[in-house]
C-alpha cells in the first residue's frame, strides 16, 4: 500500500466531499452537515462542534479511504468506475443504515419515539436523511460519488 498516496488522496477526497456538502447547505439544498453532527457528540456549543467535527470527519475520511484502498488492492485494480461504484455504495450505506443508527449512538440526538430531553436536542436525520431537506439524498450521493472518483482515479494499485 502506498501510504503517501493514501494520505494525500484520502485528504483530497474528504475535502471535496466536505466542500460539496457545505455548498449544498449554503445554497439551501440540504441541512445535512456530517462534521457538525459528529462534533455535536462532543460539545453542545455549535461553533466548537463544527470545528471538532471537521477534524473527526477528516480522520473518518482517511479511515474510509483505507477501506477503499483495501478493496482496490484485493481486486488488483482501481479506477474512476470502481471508485465511483464504491462511492455510490458508501452513500447508500450512510443514508440508509448509517442515518438509522445515528440517533441510537449519538448522545445529543433526539429519538422520535422517546421525544426530547434536555440533553437530546439535535434533530434526527430520518430515513435517507430526508429530515434535512428533500435534496439531501441526492446531494449526499453526489458528494460520495466524487469521493470515490477521486480515490479510484488517483490511487494507483501498481
Amino acid at each position: 500500500m502506498n501510504v503517501g498516496a493514501w494520505l494525500l488522496w484520502g485528504f483530497a477526497a474528504t475535502v471535496l466531499l466536505t466542500t460539496l456538502m457545505a455548498a449544498g447547505q449554503g445554497l439551501g439544498y440540504t441541512r445535512m452537515s456530517i462534521p457538525y453532527m459528529l462534533g455535536a457528540a462532543f460539545t453542545p456549543h455549535r461553533e466548537r462542534a463544527k470545528v471538532a467535527g471537521f477534524f473527526v470527519h477528516l480522520v473518518n475520511g482517511w479511515l474510509f479511504a483505507l477501506v477503499y484502498i483495501a478493496a482496490f488492492h484485493t481486486l488488483g485494480r482501481s479506477g474512476v468506475v470502481l471508485g465511483g461504484l464504491m462511492g455510490f455504495v458508501h452513500a447508500a450505506f450512510v443514508l440508509t443504515v448509517g442515518m438509522r443508527l445515528v440517533p441510537g449512538m449519538h448522545p445529543r440526538m433526539a429519538v422520535e419515539e422517546q421525544g426530547l430531553s434536555e440533553k437530546r436536542q439535535l434533530e434526527p436525520p430520518g430515513f435517507l436523511a430526508l429530515n434535512y431537506g428533500r435534496a439531501t439524498p441526492v446531494w449526499t450521493t453526489v458528494a460520495h460519488l466524487i469521493y470515490g472518483l477521486v480515490l479510484g482515479g488517483f490511487y494507483s494499485v501498481g
Partner: protein
Amino acid sequence: MRETWHSIDDYAIIGNCRSAALVSRTGSIDWLCWPRFDSPSVFGRLLDPEGGSWSIAPTVPYRSTRRYLPETNVLETTFHCPGGSVRLLDFMPLQGARLDDSAVPEQEIVRILVCDRGEVPVTLRYVPRPHYGMKRFRLRERGRLGVRTEAGAELFLLESEFGLKVAPDGVSGCATLRAGERLRSTLVHASQWPAVFSPLTQAEQKLDQTVSGWRAWTLRLRFHGPERDWVVRSALVLRLLVFAPSGAVVGAPTTSLPERVGADLNWDYRYCWLRDASMTVRALFGIGCGAEADSFVSWLLHATRLTRPELRVLYDVFGNLPRGERERTGWSGYRESRPVRLGNAADNQLQLDVYGEVIDAATHFIAHGGEFDPETERMLRAFGEYVCRNWEQPDEGIWEPRGERRRNTHSLVLCWAALDRLLKLARGGNLHRAPLERFAMNREMIREVIESRAWNEQKRSYVATLDGDGMDAALLLMPWYGYIAPDHPRMQSTWQFLRRELGAGGSLLYRYRLPPGSREGAFGICSFWAAEYLAAGGGSLDEAQRWFDAVLPHANDLGLFGEEIDPTTGRVLGNFPQAFTHLGLISAALRLAERRGVETGAADETRRRA
C-alpha cells in the same frame, strides 16, 4: 380574512440582536424574518392578511394591557377576561442564554402563557408562510418532536403544550387554563444545519437567563437624568436593532409600513444607513455602550472599505450591497398601501452627507480612545479627496427623494464637516500624510458657498438648497456638526423660519415643505433635533425640556417610536420601531443632561462665590 388592521403602534418588538419579531396587542406575531433582519418573512400578516402569523390569545372577549419586564426586551401581554386573566410572555432567548450542556437553536421564540386568576379558554393559531408567502411548504406532525414546517431544506419547528391539530394550511390548539397553570410553546428555526430542538421544560430557565442578560446589559448604561426611563427603553430598542455578529445597526426591522396610509411611500428599512453613523456612535458612547460603538465603527470601516472611495447610502448587515429593489406582488400592503417593497433602491443614490457622517463617526471613535490602522488612514484620506473632487455635485441628500438631484445645503455642511474633521484628526496626530492645504482650501470654499448661496437674505434663514427658498429640518444639525454656534444670529433666525415653515403642531415638525396636495407625517427625529438644538444653546434649558417632553407622548404605550407621526391623529406612520428616532431621543437627552450639568455647575459656582 382579518376584519381590521392593527395600528402600527399596536405592535411591540422582541428580538435577539440578530432578528426581530413584531407582536400585536392581541398576542399575534405578525412579522418575523429569520434568520436575520433582511431575510424573507415567515410571518407577514403585518403586510397582508394572508401573510402568516402565530397568535396565542383567549377565545372570550378581553381587554389587553402590556409592558416590557423592567429593563428588558421581554414582552408581557396581559389579557383581562370576564372569568379571569392570563399573561403571555414573549421573548427570543439571548444567544448567551445557553444552559449547561444544552445546544442552542439557530433561532428561537419562546411564548409562555400563565393564568393568574380564574379560568380562561385560550387558543393557539400558527399559520406559517415562509419566504414572504411565496415558497411551498409542508406541515408535518411528528409526535413528540413537534410540528415541522418544511420549506425546501429550511425548517421551522413548533412545540407546544397546547394540544395541536395540524391542517394543510396551519396549526391550531385550544385549552382552558386555570389559575396557576401555564402553557409553553416554542418555535425554532434551522436554515443550514440540523435543527436543535428547544425542550419546553427549559422555557422558564431561558426566561430567567434572558431577563438577567438584558438587566445586566442595562446596568451598564450610563445616564442619570429624569429622562432615564426613556433613554433606557430607546437603548434597548437600539440594542435589538444591532446585528450582533457584525455590529451593524438596521434602520428598522420592517419593510413597507407606509409613510402615508394607502399610498406608495413604502420602503424597506432592514438595512444599515450611513447617514445615521455619527449620531449612532455619539449616542452609543454617550450612554456607556462603548463595546457596541466600537463594533459599529468596525462594521462601518469594513463596509465602506468595500466601495471606497465611493460610499453607498446603505449596506446590509455584513457590509455588502443589498440585492436590487423588487416588489412582492400579490400582497395587499399595510392597509392597502402598495407596493410591498423588498430591497431598497436608495443604494444607488448619491448622498454626499455620508462622507461627513463616516468621518465624524471615526472622529468620535478616536476621541474615545480608538486608533486607526494605516489602511483606515488611507481610506479616510481617500474620502477627503473624494469630497474635494465632488462637493460641487448635486445629490439626492439625506431624505433620499426619488427625483432630480439638487445642491443640498445639509450635504454641503456635511462635506464641510468631513474636511474639518480630517484636518482636526491630522492636527491631533491621528491622520498622517493628509493633503492639509487642499482640505483646508476646500473647506473654506464650501463655507463661502454656504454663506453666500444657502443663506436667503429675504427669508433671513439658511435654506434647503443653494439659491432656493425652501426649508429642510436637517439644517437643525448645522450646530451639531460644529458648523455654526446654536446661538449665532443666523442660526437663531433659521430656527424661527424653520418653525414657521415646518411646524406640524405642538413639538412636531415636517422634515421638509411638502408639495401642495401631498400628505406626509411629521418626522419623529426632527422633533428631537429641535430639542437638542435648543438644549445646545439655541434656546433656554426650559424651552428645550418642554420641547423634548412634548414629543414623548407620541411614543406608543411601550415607549416605542416609529419614523413619522400623523399630526392629526398622533398615530405612528412608517417602519417601526425606528432606530433613527430613538437615536434622536438619546442624543437630545444627552444634550439636555449636559446643559443641566453646565447650569447646575454655574449655579453652584455662583452660590460658592456668594
